[in-house]
């Protein structure tokens, strides 16, 4: 029992409502719900269309032109992270289960510190579009790229599936569509809409979608919490008291134990879930991808900082909203509504703002699904087009235009497959998929990233072991866990091949991922490449080469037409004015130029934005990278780093037109 509830909290997607007679049809007025959602769609569409021109280049399709500011990306990060059930699920879990229901929020929140300390800046300094870009700075290109792409595609697609499948429950709740066919139509509609935004706007459009949704979500959350507190006279104790009065279990809703009361096994499952949650966030491909949308590591740091404040603030609001729902709606009514636990927030909104309030929350729920699936789809598509197609299949000879064409097709295919899968899976109990993706990220991606950034002895075989091994262990354990078979709440309740006792494999798979990475490096025949590790760590920690070329390393691919859309004018049109133009198709020579230590190579790099500039409202001039400097290779393995130049520390913020190639003394 507890594990089911755990999963349903975790899951962003809403587990399908219990079949059978629908108690009380959908609340509120479905037409109004649709109208409010359509208004949101329209506003975002206008923004996306205005930025759409920039969708034609790799840098903008994958990374929003690296042109977002820290605060913007911080909002987008929270938008990507706060999925429909993070909101609906946590509010409901708090209303029904009290403090235990809030546990997931705590785990998911403290997890961001890992992203802040170890991941955000270092990733931004070494990668350009995908996780593989980072790893190939020091590891062998082809095998590692294949592994990283596999992991990104698998994790993102499973998460996508879970999100879309969960939409069915929401549809029943909010639109009063209870039959399968009708729900399928709505799910297909959400998938189709998502494709429109992603195909038109690329990462730039997706990012704006996230920003709009996050602002709406946090804003509405604040209003609801304020209302709840207003009713109780700003007194938290009073709120808790009235929640306890209304709750069938009384005071238990103020004590731990309602959800995780069980024995040792339940505790182990909880610990397992928490481990996957805490370590998984910083390895989720679609979260990692967001760090490339800012120009510098400093902005990446600021993104995470903003995300932490926003997500933390929002989770605290959900606590108040959850108890508000318990007090004002009551757990019995919540559980009886279609959508079950997830209906707490919508019902409270109905209580507070009438049908308009409900419509707003419904629209936010749909916008949330839309935004999250958009981020997932583009992540998977980028991994396929950039890693698999451009670098593995074409071995770096694809032009940027070809790569983008493939990226769009991949978007379409992944979107359609995800939607179809979501429709098929609608109503299945696949809540475990979300905890699966977090755990897979924690077991496969995080060990690989941390080792490659900090451990000098790490090798390519180590990376392959930790990525494939971590992924395989996670998925394998899930398959033989009670999540899939053996209990009435399993995906396949009638079968029983559950030999692994825990629903969440994190307790085993995360250590396994780290161990495999270690063993692969130590036992493999390959010797660690010291020079490559030096390159990795210097680049990761300093951002050398992001903004200005580094002399002496021809192996560093210069950034391809990175361009910042005109920076920060006041209007929303800002990104429309894209001075960069389409990325020049550039033929990249096969990667891996040898002369690592030669003092002559250089990269031509057009810095995106001056240091510090992004924090200013009126930033750097739009600029594009001038084609130029000799060693330009259309960009591949990721060099797009950005420096964290502290103001006053050397680099001039403004002038970025340095395509002509830098001159200057070789370093050190």
């Amino acid at each position: 029992m507890s594990s089911v509830l755990v999963s349903s909290v975790l899951v962003s997607s809403v587990p399908a409502p219990p079949p059978g007679p629908v108690t009380g049809s959908a609340v509120g007025d479905p037409v109004l719900n649709v109208v409010v959602f359509a208004a949101f769609l329209l506003v975002v569409l206008v923004v996306v269309l205005r930025v759409a021109r920039s969708g034609a280049t790799r840098s903008s399709y994958y990374a929003g032109g690296h042109g977002f500011t820290g605060p913007e990306n911080g909002l987008a990060l929270s938008g990507d992270f706060l999925s429909a059930a993070t909101f609906l699920g946590i509010v409901g879990a708090v209303a029904v289960s009290g403090p235990d229901g809030f546990g997931y929020a705590v785990a998911a929140f403290v997890a961001w510190l890992l992203a802040l300390f170890f991941i955000a800046e270092l990733i931004r300094n070494t990668g350009r579009y995908t996780l593989a870009d980072v790893l190939t700075v020091r590891l062998r290109e082809r095998p590692v790229r294949a592994a990283a792409a596999t992991s990104a595609v698998v994790i993102s697609t499973l998460y996508l599936l879970a999100q879309l499948a969960g939409a069915g429950g929401l549809v029943a709740l909010l639109l009063d569509v209870t039959d399968r066919a009708g729900q399928a139509v709505v799910i297909a509609g959400v998938g189709g809409l998502m494709l429109v935004y992603v195909l038109i706007g690329g990462m730039t459009g997706t990012t704006w979608l996230q920003i709009a949704k996050a602002a709406l979500l946090v804003g509405t959350g604040a209003v609801m919490a304020a209302y709840v507190l207003g009713i109780t006279g700003l007194s938290l104790p009073k709120l808790f008291e009235s929640a306890a009065l209304r709750h069938p279990e009384g005071d238990a809703v103020l004590r731990p134990g309602l959800l995780y009361g069980g024995g040792a096994l339940a505790q182990a499952d909880l610990a397992s879930l928490a481990l996957g949650g805490v370590l998984g966030v910083a390895g989720l491909p679609h979260i990692l991808m967001r760090f490339y949308t800012v120009p510098t590591a400093r902005q990446a740091r600021s993104s995470v900082t903003w995300a932490i404040w926003l997500i933390g603030g929002f989770f605290l609001l959900t606590l108040v909203i959850g108890y508000g729902a318990a007090a004002m709606v009551g757990p019995e009514r919540i559980l009886a509504a279609p959508g079950g636990v997830n209906s707490a927030a919508p019902l409270l909104a109905l209580e507070i703002g009438g049908e308009i309030g409900l419509a707003l929350v419904s629209a936010i729920a749909f916008a949330t699904i839309l935004a999250v699936v958009a981020g997932l789809t583009i992540t998977a598509a980028a991994a396929f087009a950039h890693d698999v197609y451009a670098n593995l299949i074409r071995r770096g000879t694809a032009t940027a235009a070809e790569e983008i064409r493939v990226a769009r097709r991949a978007t379409l295919v992944i979107g359609v497959l995800g939607t179809a899968g979501g429709i098929l899976a609608n109503g299945q109990n696949i809540a475990f998929l979300v905890s699966l993706t977090f755990t897979a990220a924690a077991s496969a991606n995080l060990p690989t990233l941390l080792y490659s950034l900090f451990w000098r002895g790490f090798t390519t075989s180590g990376a392959l072991w930790s990525m494939y091994g971590g992924l395989a262990v996670t998925v394998g354990l899930i398959v033989v866990s009670p999540a899939v078979s053996g209990t009435p709440t399993s995906m396949l309740p009638k079968l029983d091949f559950a030999v692994f006792p825990l629903t969440n494999p994190g307790l085993v798979s995360v250590p396994a991922g780290f161990l495999l990475g270690f063993l692969g490096s130590v036992l493999g025949r390959e010797r660690p490449d010291r020079a490559a590790f030096a390159r990795m760590s210097v680049r990761a920690l300093t951002g050398a080469g992001v903004e200005h070329p580094v002399h002496g390393d021809p192996s560093m691919p210069p950034p391809a037409g990175r361009h910042r859309q005109s920076p920060f004018p006041v209007t929303g049109a800002r990104r429309a004015a894209d001075p960069g133009g389409p990325e020049r198709p550039v033929i990249r020579p096969a990667a891996g130029s040898p002369a690592d230590d030669s003092p002559t190579g250089r990269i031509a790099d057009g810095p995106l934005v001056g240091p510090g500039a992004a924090s200013l409202p009126a930033g750097p001039s739009p600029h594009r990278v001038a084609p130029g400097a000799g060693g330009r290779r259309g960009g591949s393995t990721g060099a797009f780093f950005q420096p964290v130049t502290p103001p006053g520390h050397g680099h001039r913020p403004a002038d970025h037109r340095r395509g002509g190639g830098p001159a200057g003394p070789p370093p050190s």
Binding site: P99, F102, G103, V106, F109, V110, L113, L116, F117, F118, P237, L254, R255, P256, L270, A271, A274, V278, R301, V304, T305, I308, W309, G312, L316, L319, F454, R530, A531, A534, R535, V538, L541, T542, G543, A544, G545, E547, H548, P549, V550, H551, G552, D596, S598, P599, P643, T645, P646, H649, G650, H651, R652, R658, P662, G664, P665, P666, P667, S668
Partner: protein, 99 residues
């Protein structure tokens, strides 16, 4: 040349300064989070107390938030003061021209 850069005192200092902050901070927050889990699992009675009408378990959860906010602020401050200047120096030397 990356090897040379990695051997400069500035870089080794940068690396150790970074690790000197993030490793203890990570150990600290993970231990504090573990403490939250353990108390939740085995000290339910203690956490059921309600000082001032607010359940202790929720105060503890809020404590996780406070510590996260505090570490975030501390890291930002540390990075700005200690890490950025060092990173800037190393980078400037590598990039040569631009300063």
């Amino acid at each position: 040349m990356w090897v040379d850069a990695a051997a400069t005192p500035d870089f080794t200092r940068l690396r150790s300064s970074l690790l000197r902050f993030v490793v203890p901070a990570t150990v600290l927050f993970l231990a504090w989070f573990l403490c939250y889990l353990v108390l939740n699992a085995w000290y339910k009675d203690l956490l059921s107390l309600r000082p001032g009408g607010i359940p202790l378990v929720l105060l503890l959860a809020a404590g996780q938030f406070v510590s996260t906010f505090a570490l975030t602020a501390a890291y930002n401050r540390y990075a700005r003061r200690r890490l950025d200047p060092l990173a800037g120096r190393v980078r400037a030397r590598l990039e040569g021209a631009s300063s």
